[in-house]
Amino acid sequence: MNALLNIIKNFPKYLWSGWGAVSSIFLFITLWEFGFQQYGELVLPSPQSTFHTLWTMLHTDSIMQDVHITVKRAMWGFIISAGLGSFLGMLAGLFVTASIMSRPIITILMGMPPIAWIVLAMIWFGTGDNTVIFTVVVASFPIVFVGALQGTHTLEGDLKDMSDSFKAPLLMKFTDVYFPHIFSYIFPAWIAALGMSWKIVVMAELLSTPDGIGAALAVTRSHLDTAGALALVTIMIGFLLFIEYVFMEPIKREVEQWRN
């Protein structure tokens, strides 16, 4: 509860510290404008026409529906992979044999290109939510799994002895000693998995579903609507920046302020 209050209290200060990030985004838009002036509207539409298309797009019902569908799929995929990865990773970290045995499997999962999973998922689940969610889970799960595994694997015996010396009850040992350590590994893994989920969901939708931002992107490609494609990309990036910097980063700063 205190942590939540601190996050809210520090939020305006945190937002104010974002001017540096805003200026670098403006610099990027300047380069984009420069690219437009070099190559023309068809190859790289101007930021102005892209934002205009975006504005018009945001006032249509269909795009809002697509955004809603994509967010729903990404979130389900993320929640399943975060839950499953955290639980199994922590479990594997407790046993040396399990952590040794799981390593090659994780390497295989991480090494397998998501596009191959999409093809397999389409054969298994057809076109629809399940294919997309499955692909997201398969791509994000190893990241969380490895984070959780390292978290439990690196638990310090010294701190356990210390808590034993004070006869700390099991629940307190978990909340005060084990959990903060494991969380410091899992949380960054969740952030990485969230970014991965968002990228994979659009790719999976582009190839396997008739709806969602990915599918809308496929339509703009077929119409050679570069401004429309860039507007959709802007929506995706906007969402990612919003989730990462408005939600995740303040939480991360609060829960990890004890780190050097």
């Binding site: 010294d158 701190l159 002895d161 210390m162 808590s163 034993d164 010396s165 004070f166 006869k167 700390a168 009850p169 307190m172 005060d176 000693v177 903060p180 350590h181 410091s184 302020q257 004890w258 780190r259 050097n260």
Partner: protein, 261 residues
């Protein structure tokens, strides 16, 4: 009355890690209100003995009987929880006892201030504290639960001389008040002479009691001159010379400078 009879009784304690024998036939009796220190060269099994007495290791051979109601442990490397503030770290043992937040914070603040920490330090994380301050927090954490028996693992070895004296004075006060019994290991003979009623010298390979020295004078009456003189006497003792493999000439010429063997 049961509290008066509390003791840490070690009988014929031996311990091995695999084929490697660490301790052989250790026996001593620590009575309430007394201080026993164990000195000896590094690798002699001092820490293993301490861990066996504190219950961190299972006793394989011999017997350890601890009838003190409450004991605490102060570690050489402090072992503070890096994600908790100074206040929460000090209050850790009180929380483990189930004490309410307000009360444990009150007691933790009180002891922190007594140990020379400032109010602003209480909300800091260990990373923002100096080594000496971390050691104070570790001591405060151990003492705030008002243990009957305190285990110390070379607690002063990383401290500057001022802080070392300060913490030792706090301990001596508690011992003199009859509120504390201490079992500690050290490689510093002067430290042992200053604080102990009994000094057990542990020989190496395997660790075994080479000799036990007894100091009768109460801790509060031991001034620097007495500590230096007693340490010099110890350093001239053949058991100490043999156990620490001291050069006889240097131990005769510079007794007080060679105290930390």
């Amino acid at each position: 009355m049961a509290e008066l009879d509390a003791e840490l009784h070690v009988q014929h304690l031996s311990h091995s890690f695999g084929p490697h024998e660490i301790l052989r036939d250790i026996s001593f009796n620590l009575k309430e209100g007394h201080v026993i220190s164990v000195v000896g060269p590094s690798g002699g099994g001092k820490t293993t003995l301490l861990h066996l007495c504190a219950g961190f290791l299972d006793v394989e051979e011999g017997k350890v009987t601890n009838t003190f109601n409450k004991h605490a442990f102060a570690f050489q490397e402090t072992r503070l929880l890096p994600w908790q503030t100074t206040l929460d770290n000090i209050a850790f043992g009180l929380k483990a006892q189930g004490m309410r937040k307000q009360q444990r914070y009150h007691l933790a603040t009180e002891i922190a201030l007594r140990f020379g920490l400032e109010k602003k330090d209480l909300s800091k994380f260990p990373k923002d504290l100096s080594g000496g301050m971390r050691q104070r927090v570790s001591f405060a954490r151990a003492l705030v639960i008002e243990p009957q028996l305190l285990f110390l693992d070379e607690p002063f070895s990383a401290l500057d001389i001022g802080l070392k004296q300060e913490l030792q004075q706090i301990l001596i006060q508690l011992i003199s008040d009859g509120r504390l019994t201490v079992f500690f290991i050290t490689h510093d003979l002067m430290e042992a002479v200053r604080l102990s009623d009994q000094i057990i010298v542990l020989d190496v390979d395997p660790g075994r009691v080479a000799h036990t020295f007894t100091i009768e004078k109460p801790q509060q009456e031991r001034d620097d001159a007495y500590v230096y003189a007693e340490t010099a006497k110890l350093l001239a003792n053949p058991v100490i010379i043999k156990t620490f493999e001291l050069s006889i000439a240097s131990s005769r010429n510079k007794p007080d400078k060679g105290a930390a063997a």
